[in-house]
Symmetry: C2
């Protein structure tokens, strides 16, 4: 039987999304499992393989899977490993993810990269970055990830780990503790978790009225809903978040002079509150030659699709 | 007659170095002219052309020049223009440098890039970065420049201006005014001018004894000489400078995961005072996966040679 299908897997801090994709980029079947139920890699891989076999059966795809592409935090394209991923309890050390998954899937070849790199490939092939040769994809999810495309190619660097812009320093002195062990990282401020934390800190620090005060546990989604209701504190949280993003984007522009910064992920849904402060801070902090020239665009793909499609694109090359 | 030679030109804020180079990378003749004697481009080009014709005659190279490669601040590889170069009075706007020089040189073709990009090519071909596919060249001169090499290619970006790391933000709040119009740029602290300024500011702010107090006008070279004499204030200036460099290098590493950072330029001669604070700050600010893994190396080429050779390498491609 022709090996005419691939599988794309997007591993996030909370959930992992899997899909069977055909050559046209149609997702034929998909499923989601938790990423955070295990502290070692083997039971996670076992659960993942079971989920994959389920959608393979559902799509009538037995014997037709050419390869599996995986996007994962700290995923290494060169070695197929996931290393020191702060948001994945089963990958705090180094795990041979591609090898283990391939073994569990009867030898189907597995290729792996950074989740944000996978999303960048998806966006370049099917989304907002179609036709662009130079752009930076920033994923605003549980963490802040990045996929950098230069001259049409994803940047992997000397060791395969390039593009960790979420762990560049946004606040130099007395910065927040980040999951990665450092302080002041962009991710500690501008991820979904960072936004919720900003809101909680500001509520504690002031008596400013806010509908968020009535909530037990505040998430970034709560802050977004409050901002939509016109809640001033919530609006200020997004202004603060957008300013930090824009300041750092200006530094990224000085590095690779991209045509656009592409925003992707759950938090990017708050674009009506983020765009203005991002663009303002970005333009205030770039050299004049880039002022008002670098586009800020938002992903045009359904969040799950972009990552699955991007990861699946890797598998076609196997 | 065979067109078997090229010319490399390195345009700096103060001087421009020119050399005739053969296919083996030997500099057959060279000369230096001031870059800062003119406020418009035409008389500078006329003076440059005269200097070039002089060394062409000296080397017996009439009719043998295949092309001219130029490295210049804010030089654009795609368009052959120099745009908004803060340290060049005759290029505050946009000048058609490659076209004008070619016209003055009887139609010899001219290729142009960022001076730091040219130096990076020189270092990759002849110097400390031989065999490296992924490195970042940082030039510490009148300004702070950068040439980024990924997978063996210089990064030019969407518009040809990639690699302006000297104008990423080192100090976010109340940063020093930079020549580029922004505040807090790396260049405002870690260029030769920045080092001299740090020393002057600290002398003003404190009563700490220092041999620098006896000088009328302090240059970075004075600070270096004082540090060599064991002057505590001068040593602290280099520690401060090195720490800022290391902090920013950590961010650059997160971008492109280079094998090495290569330091070049007049200020890099102070390596005995810069290395320790740079390496310490770099390792404190990178993700653990890069800690103690990215090399810090110093240019192995004579300063003038690297830039001339790098620029000349462009000319061979013409």
């Amino acid at each position: 039987m022709a090996k005419d299908l691939v599988i794309g897997i997007d591993i996030g801090g909370q959930t992992s999304k899997c899909g069977i994709v055909d050559a046209r980029g149609t997702v034929l079947a998909q499923t989601v499992i938790r990423s955070d139920n295990h502290t070692t890699v083997e039971p996670f891989i076992a659960e993942l393989a079971e989920a994959l076999n389920h959608i393979i059966a559902e799509a009538g795809a037995e014997g037709r899977i050419r390869g599996i592409g995986v996007g994962a935090p700290n995923g290494n394209y060169y070695t197929g490993t996931i290393e020191c991923a702060p948001n994945l309890a089963w990958a705090h050390d180094k795990v041979e993810f591609a090898k283990l998954l391939s073994e569990q899937m009867n030898g189907i070849p597995v290729s792996l990269t950074n989740d944000a790199n996978a999303a960048a490939v998806g966006e370049m092939t099917y989304g907002a970055a179609r036709g662009m040769k130079n752009f930076i994809m920033i994923t605003l999810g549980t963490g802040v990830g990045s996929g950098i495309v230069i001259d049409g190619n994803v940047v992997y660097g000397h060791d395969g780990f390039a593009g960790e812009l979420g762990h560049t320093t946004a606040v130099r002195h007395n910065g927040r503790q980040c999951n990665c062990g450092k302080t002041g990282c962009l991710e500690a401020y501008c991820s979904a978790i960072g936004v919720a934390r900003t809101a909680r800190e500001w509520l504690e620090m002031s008596d400013e009225p806010s509908e968020l005060r009535s909530l037990d546990k505040i998430t970034s989604k709560d802050v977004y809903e409050a901002a939509k209701d016109g809640d001033k504190l919530a609006l200020k949280v997004f202004e603060f978040t957008g300013r930090i993003l824009g300041e750092k984007f200006a530094d990224f522009i000085a590095f690779s002079a991209p045509e656009a910064i592409v925003l992707f992920g759950g938090l990017a849904r708050a674009k009506e509150f983020l765009t203005e402060p991002i663009v303002k801070a970005m333009n205030e902090n770039v050299l004049s030659l880039w002022r008002n020239k670098v586009k800020l665009v938002y992903s045009q793909l359904k969040e799950s699709d972009a990552a699955i499609l991007g990861a699946s694109a890797l598998a076609w090359e196997l």
